[in-house]
């Protein structure tokens, strides 16, 4: 709830917002549309030299998890730490660092926790490959089970059974006699 309040306050502090509110219904509509984009507040303060850089910035801050307010990206969170980390990402982009380099920088300081994409290493093998191993195991088990069952069913009817089947299908009165 506090986070929500903070966000609302952040909105009202954007100079355009009170004006929009005064603009009545149309203003409200625009405001609502703007609020639909959670990135708006985070992106607002930064100036990018081209749309590609802005795109990279958006992508990076959505990949990074806020260590303080867990389960939020640093794009979503307005914790002071997230603000600092966003600023650092921006500065590093301005310095011309690569995306991988920026992620590595963060992981070196905050550990794997900070990235929403866990790295593939022995400790995370179970996480990455476990579901596939499980699927293969289940497929194998089901396969074995089906073959076993198929073997248990007698492949042919005996002569006596065939005769009985014929009688049933033709509906002749022999059976009821």
């Amino acid at each position: 709830m506090n986070a929500l309040l903070r966000r609302v306050r952040a909105w009202v502090s954007i100079p355009a917002v009170p004006a929009l509110l005064k603009g009545g219904l149309r203003g409200m509509l625009i405001l609502v549309l703007l609020m639909a984009s959670p990135l708006f507040a985070a992106i607002n303060a930064y100036e990018f030299k081209d749309p590609a850089q802005e795109q990279r910035f958006r992508h990076l801050i959505e990949e990074l998890r806020c260590p303080k307010c867990q389960n939020q990206t640093i794009a979503d969170s307005n914790a002071p730490l997230s603000q600092d980390l966003r600023q650092r990402v921006y500065t590093m982009l301005e310095e011309g660092r690569g995306d991988a380099e920026i992620i590595e920088f963060m992981v070196a300081r905050y550990g794997d926790f900070i990235t929403y994409r866990p790295p593939v290493k022995p400790a995370t093998w179970l996480l990455w490959f476990g579901p596939f191993v499980l699927l293969a195991a289940v497929a194998l088990g089901v396969g074995i089970w089906i073959r076993r069952r198929a073997r248990q069913i007698p492949p042919e009817l005996s002569a006596q059974e065939r005769e009985r089947l014929r009688l049933l299908l033709t509906g002749s009165g022999e059976e009821s006699k």
Partner: protein
């Protein structure tokens, strides 16, 4: 039913038990406590002013030489106030404590030290939180254990109390002392 089949049928149960064990262990974890990525790594390179004297610049070299604590604190942090007495107690026992005044205002911080007492041998002014990022600080208070070479050996997030000190810090300090002496 063949013996092989019964072994096969026991596999899902075994898998379930393994899963149960992991989940059970996970229950006991506090998800807000993150391991530091800097354990057994030297202090990050930094150059920062001290809190007392903005003209004095310190680097990691100034924190080397002895086993010491590096305590990240701020006046806006209630838990820091809660552990302050503990830090003063440790300092009076001869434990070397360096401070990082994290995202704080200098005047308030100096006032705090003046009123509550100063357990720190040295305080680094990290008003912008940049050293904090390099240390991987995500919430004050945090307390790092440094060995004599300035290598980070342990980090505690949250209030440093008597129990934490006895259970997490003292054994490691003894080990470090044993290794060097």
């Amino acid at each position: 039913m063949s013996r092989r089949l019964s072994v096969l049928l026991a596999l899902p149960l075994a898998g379930f038990l393994v899963l149960l064990w992991f989940l059970w262990r996970g229950l006991g974890n506090d998800p807000s406590l993150l391991p530091s990525a800097l354990i057994d790594r030297p202090l990050p390179v930094f150059k920062a002013a001290t809190l007392d004297d903005p003209g004095r610049i310190v680097t990691p070299a100034d924190l080397k030489g002895d086993i010491a604590l590096l305590n990240v604190w701020a006046t806006w942090c209630p838990s820091c106030r809660a552990e302050h007495e503990m830090l003063r107690g440790l300092a009076s026992q001869g434990v070397i404590i360096y401070g990082v005044n994290y995202k704080d205002e200098r005047d308030k911080a100096l006032d705090w030290l003046h009123t509550l007492g100063n357990p720190y041998r040295l305080n680094i002014d990290d008003a912008a939180g940049q050293l904090g990022i390099d240390l991987g600080v995500y919430g004050a208070p945090e307390t790092y254990l440094l060995d004599a070479r300035g290598v980070i050996r342990y980090r505690h997030v949250g209030v440093l109390d008597d129990q934490v000190w006895r259970e997490n810090f003292l054994p490691r300090i003894r080990m470090l002392k044993g290794a060097s002496g």
